[in-house]
Structures are given as C-alpha cells and as structure tokens.
Symmetry: C2
Subunit: 465 residues, 2 copies
C-alpha cells in the first residue's frame, strides 16, 4: 500500500474568479482576481512516477474515450416496465443508487425507499413486514449502474415500476430511469407513507400509459437538443430543471392530445408535470449515463464514467477499469439547509444524480444557471467560478453543450482522475440533501466537492495497472 | 429655440465592462476595464440651468412615477375582439405602431400590413383595392399607444382582430394586443399574401376561442410572475421569448384540456404556440404598457413612459407630459443581418416593442439573456455591459424583475430624459429589423441605441415647462 494522505472533509474550490463580479463591473475599475492557495496532496513518489510513465498511453486513451462521449446522442425512445426491460431485473431484485451495498449498511432514506417499494409491489402489507422482508435473503440488491439504470437520491427501482427508455443513438446502448415523483413526501427521499404509495400507483396507472403513447406518437424526443437548450435557459439539469421540464411539456403537449384516450387523465398528467420542475431530472440522468456508458472499457483511460453515492459510500467508475468501483465514505454536505433543519439532520450524500456532473452538466455547468444560487447558496460569481475551475480537472470541453455566459464555451467534459488528484481539486456536485431519517424528505441543497478518497484509490489502481 | 447640437447616427454605448470576460476569468489574472470616452452633447447653458433649477421638483416627481411603475402588477385577464374592447375603435380606424403618422408618410412594411388588414377585414378584394382604400379619407389612423393598445413591428390592429386583455391589477387600467403570428410571412412585417390572411383567419376562428376559454378557466395568468421567471431563464422578453412562451404553454395546457371542445383544434393551438418562440412577446408588451400607463400624468416627471417607432419616426412620451409626443427620425439599425441581406435592405426601426425596454426588460435586461448574442451579435460581456450602462440613465432598479448574472440586481427602471441627455447615453433597444419593402419580413436583429433627438426635444420641453 502506497503512502496516501487524504485530507478528510470537503476540499475548498479554488477561487479563480471575481468575488463580487457584479459590483466590480459597475465600478468599471480594475478587478483583482485571487487564486486561493491549495495544499497539494501528499502522493508517494513511486506512485507519481508510475503515473508519469503511463501518461502518454493514458492521454491517448482519454482522447479516445472523450471522443466517444462527445459523439453520444441521447434520446427518449419509449417507456416500459422495469422487469421487461432492465437486464437481469426480477421480482426479488431491487436496484439502488450508488456503489454496491448490503441492507445492513444502508442509510435511512435508502431503507425507507426499499420499504416503500416492497409495499408498492404488494410484497408487504406494512412497513414492519416490508423491513423484515428487505433484510431477509429473499431480496437481493444491486446498483442501478450495474443494470443500465439510474435513479436520483435513494434511486430505488423495483420490478413493476414503469421506466423511461433512453438510448444513446450513436452507440445503441440503453439506460432506464423511473418517472420523477415531485417534491415533498416521495420514495426517492425515503418516504413510504400511504400518500407515497398512492402516487406511485397513479404514476403506474395513469402517468405511464399516457406518456408512453405520446412518446410513441413522437417516435423519440431528442434529449441532446433539450439539454443544450435548457443550458441556455438557466438550467444545469441537476438541481434546476425548470427549463428542461418546460421544453418537455411543449414538445409532449400536442402528442398527448393526438393520442388521448381520456381527457381527465391527460389533464392530470399535464398538471402533474407542470407542478414538478424536477420532472426532467429523470431524463437528464439517463441521458448522461447512456452517453458515458458508451465510453466504458477504453483500456488505459483515466476518465470517470460514473460518480455516485448510496448514502453511505461515494463511488466512481473509470473508463479504463470496466465495472470496478473505487469508493470512500460519503460525506454530509455543507449545504444551504431549509428553515428548521441543519447539518445534524442531513444524510451523507446520496444518489446517482452526480452522473449529470460526470456528463459535464450539474455543478460543471452551473455557470449556465446563475439563478440556482438562490437555492444552493453563493452568488453569481461563484457559479461562474465553479464551472471555470472544473476545466482544470477535465480532459476537454463539450462540443454539444455550451454556457452562454462564458461566450458559449463548451462545458468541462471528461473528468480525469489524474488531474483531480494531482491538482487536489475534486469534482463539484450541485446536490440535494436528504434527511437522515426515512420519510422526512429533502432538507437542503448545496454545491459540494466529491470526497478525494475514491479518486486516490483510482489513481493508485491506474499506477499499478 | 435653444441651441441644440444633435449628433446624428447611433451613439456608441460606453464600454463599462470586460471585453472578454470569459477569457479573462480563465486566465485568472488582472482584468483591465475601459470606459470609452464619449463627447458630451452641446446643450445651451440657459437650457441646462433651467433644468438644474427644476431638478428637485423633477426628482420628487420621478420618485412618485417610479413607485407607480414598481407597484404595477400585469395580468392576462381575458380575450375579446378589438372593436368591443379598445376605446374609440371602429371599423374605419386602423391602429399602428409608433407615434402618429399619415398614410403618405408610412414606410413599406406598415403600408403592407394595412393592406393585409383591409383584405382580412373583407374591405378589399386585392392589394390594389386595399391600397386605394387605405389612402382614401374613409380610413383613419391612430397610434396603438393612444388607444390602450400595443403592437410589435407595424403594430396594425383592425376592428375585428382578437386581442389579449392585459390589466394592471394595481391601478386597474387595461392594455390590448393581438396574438403573435410567428415568423416568416406575417402581417406585422408587412406581408399580406394569401398565406398571411389565411393564418389570421385561423387565429380568429380557432386560436382565439380556444385560448379565450382556457384563460377564462384559469381566471387570470400572472404576467409579472411569468416575466420575472423568464428573466431567470435566459429571456429578455423582447427578442428572446422562448422561456416565457414555454412557461405560458405549461400553464395553459391543463386549462386547454379542461375547456376543450374539439381535440383537433386544441392540438393545432398547442402545436402553433410550440412552433412560435415569440408568442409571449405579445403578452410582455401589453404587460409593459399596462404598468407604464399608470405612471402617465405625474406633473414634472421626466421619466419615459413610452418609446416607440413607426418605421419613419421614433417617438417618446413622458410621465409629466400626458399624451404629448417627442419625435425624431427613426434610424436604420446597425444590426446582424440574415444571410443575403444588408443594411441597404433594412427599414428604419419600427414597432411598439421598445415598450419592453421602457419597462426595464429587452435591451435593459439583456444581461439576463446572454444566449441572445447569437441572434443579435456581440458576446456575453457585451450583454452584461449593455444592462450595466442603462443604470446610468434610469431613476431606479426594479423590485420585481432581477438579473441572476448580476446577483439578482433589479433591472434598470425608469428612463430619465435628463440623464439620457446629460450623460449623452440613449436607451439600448434589442430589436428585430424589417425589410423596407412590404411582404419580405425580418432581415436582421441587433442591439441599437435610440436616436437622441426625441430625448433632446423632451429635455427642451421640460426646461420650458
């Protein structure tokens, strides 16, 4: 084992921008920009040399992996039932967010969501029975990421849930995600009350068939185009999806009418989506994964193809390491907490939604979404700085997704483990925060840095590859 | 007559910002900001002294007028037919954009739109007959602005056209505007072909009743909220209305279904609005006018309550001067021309849409819409600079409409004629450009400065008041 000194806790983002950009620009004077000093990580010399020796091969591999990511074209092509579509899905399998984890190590919100899913599936009549079943050998667990699927927060997918089918049209691979439930008491935050189950059943009986028909009518919905537009409209498609949701409704509405079987149900569907600005998240996430999955298994590449958290551990996967996981403890975010809540209430970071950052959106594109600072804290200059700093750890810039406020510069794309470690700068994630107890829901939101440990482990593996 | 030396042509906006903000911020070094020198206007000493003497009274009046504007709450409250709603409207009256003008002085696009309107009204069978009727004493003309109405580009409203009813809920006054036709061959750009008339009849027979029922179902649509949100989503609600249109569709869609009488027609309506990102312009404009009209007739106020162009003249109205017009020649914009067109093809500036700038949106809020520089030219820093420079000529900042990229600073609000003249800085207008011949349509778009002459005339009048 090499000597690795990992500083626990959140690493500070370097300040490469203007502290008070707006104020300074109005003063129309000279503007000083500070680059905060950051202590380098202590990396074993032999390890660093080994990486240096491999850099030419890695750079070439990274270029190849990046080209695959650049070429990705995600589209919503249909809907179906998890069991019929997701490879390896069966009645006793429950998929969850993050790297692999067993029931006994799961956090409160993930356990709560599993309890809810078992009730929804008719496998248990009450939470006590569900919990007992969940802990038994009858039920097995696997990460969404290992089954071509993805889910926000707890990320629970059980066999009869309806899912969106997102395809990367360039490489043909698929990714599946459930329909977003909205805010408040929802399964993905670990709630399992009657209200939650009732909504899931309505999503199954009404939302799903109505949307499925409309999508079939349209043939497909071009998610690359919707995401690119949303980034021009103040979304970063992780914590802010108002534009994406609005653009989706615009495109769906005529098709919903053309395929309408029941006016009342279609009205309910339009009202439901209109009432949920996060609806598009469950399309941006599979869009990101469908694009990144195509870049798995490029030998020698040090690019990250997945970052995700199960509420206990934070895990990443690399292009050059197939399905191997590099993990470390998930941290409790230093977030902007809703009134009445504090960090003491918060669950450690959870959810597959950091796929958006991995795809160059979310925290990486937050400069496109200055309005989000009202939700996650900070000011407009912070939003610019967050994005600008991420170019330092990426292999390239997106050709498809641009930031108007940076003169249409492409978003930072292709997180390189080597750059993360050697710059001591971990990826920024623009995240929601769940209460640590099941059933409470969201208690905050914020911009946080990924823990360095998984990246250090991946660095080590690359050095020894 | 006082000695006034007006420099003809477009005045250059001072550069108070960062020429290459994005590039500089990535360099993370020091950033120099230039303030371009601008020659002061030559103003007669006695005139300037007279204004100086009146400034305390004017400042007080401006504060009063600004408070009325700040308090304005525009809402879409219904739809109806022009003749039934617009005060003084009758079958032989045609309303147009800009200050008053007679047929013989009208530009090509305005004449074309009037020809189209007379054919649409069934008053003429062909363009020749329409032109003859238009030039006769039978038809009279008046500015939309003098009839509680407003229209983009040619701004033609004839008696049987359906109109939106927008009310300023604070003061109770109304403003009326037609439904936006989309781009291409459209009446407002002076086109009058069969395709144009056919679309107007469909808007009359289908779009209007379907929307009217949905709006009645909703009771009202809060335009203050929609515009405030749109400014957080990359619109400036003049040349870019994609977010406003999307948010409108979201809100309308469930109501369209609840009030549906015919699926095919409702589908057509949703497809039409979805296909026209400018649809919301014909709501942002009356919203602006409804708010500003309430601030008319505040004695001694030097704030502008209307800026508008008829394609021949540019006119402004002041809070302190009731319905008096101060005018000067409209200029041909230095715009970004569409491929195949140049300044030689362009009509002088036309349309009531500069009401959006007067209300603190459009060019004044262009920092909220960096993506628009792809359409109007320049870069993201220009967009910031345009907005920042407009604070210099405004009495205050909006409490309702904010710019995320300037840390939620309120938009520049309450254009003060005194500041415009004494700073030699005329308002920025983010405008579309019409071909000078009727029927061709839009040939460009750009950010232009209003001519100084109307402001100088108003300044003179204030000095002699």
């Amino acid at each position: 084992m090499s000597k690795i000194n990992i500083k626990q806790g959140h690493l500070k983002v370097i300040n490469v921008g203007l502290e008070n950009f707006a104020r300074n620009i109005t003063k129309a004077g000279h503007t000083a920009v500070d680059v905060a000093w950051k202590p380098p990580l202590s990396i074993d010399k032999a390890l660093r040399q080994s990486i240096a020796d491999r850099k030419p091969a890695m750079t070439e591999a990274n270029q190849k992996a990046l080209e695959i990511i650049q070429a990705g074209k995600p589209a919503l092509v249909g809907m179906g039932i998890a069991e019929d579509l997701i490879p390896g899905m069966h009645k006793n399998l429950i998929l969850h967010a993050g790297p692999p984890i067993s029931w006994d190590k799961m956090c409160g919100p993930m356990r709560g969501a599993i309890i809810g899913a078992l009730i929804y599936e008719g496998r248990a009549e009450n939470p006590e029975a569900a919990e007992k079943l969940a802990a038994s050998k009858e039920i097995s667990y696997a990460p969404c990421h290992e089954h071509n699927a993805i889910g926000p927060m707890a990320g629970i997918i059980s066999s009869s849930m309806p899912v969106f089918i997102v395809q990367n049209e360039t490489s043909g691979n698929f990714c599946y995600a459930t329909q977003n439930e909205g805010l408040g008491k929802v399964l993905r935050y670990g709630a399992y009350s009657e209200e939650v189950i009732k909504r899931l059943r309505w999503m199954d009986a009404v939302l799903y068939p109505v949307l499925k028909r409309a999508i079939e009518d349209l043939g497909k919905i071009d998610l690359q185009s919707l995401i690119a537009q949303a980034l021009h409209m103040g979304d970063e498609v992780h914590n802010r999806n108002r534009a994406g949701t609005s653009l989706l409704i615009r495109q769906l509405a005529p098709a919903l009418l053309r395929t309408m079987q029941n006016v009342e149900e279609t009205t309910q569907v339009l009202s439901f989506i209109n009432g949920n600005d996060h609806f598009f998240l469950n399309l941006s996430m599979p869009a990101g994964k469908a694009v990144l999955d195509a870049a798995r298994k490029v030998p020698n590449s040090s690019l990250v193809v997945a970052m995700t958290r199960n509420g206990t551990e934070f895990g990443i996967q690399l292009s050059g390491f197939g399905d191997a996981w590099f993990t470390g403890p998930a941290l409790v975010p230093d977030a902007l907490y809703f009134p009445g809540y504090s960090k003491a209430d918060a669950n450690p970071d959870i959810g597959d939604s950091a796929i958006t950052e991995t795809a160059g959106w979310g925290g990486f594109a937050i400069a496109a979404a200055p309005a989000i600072v009202q939700f996650v804290g900070g000011n407009a200059a912070d939003a610019l700085n967050y994005t600008v700093s991420m170019y330092e750890i990426c292999h390239g810039e997106s050709r498809n997704y641009q930031i108007p406020g940076l003169d249409f510069r492409g978003t930072p794309l292709g997180i390189d483990v080597i750059k993360v470690v050697e710059n001591n700068l971990s990826p920024i994630i623009d995240t929601g925060v769940a209460h640590k107890d099941p059933g409470v829901g969201q208690v905050g939101a914020g911009v946080v840095n990924a823990p360095m440990e998984p990246f250090m482990r991946a660095y080590e593996a690359l050095a020894k590859n």
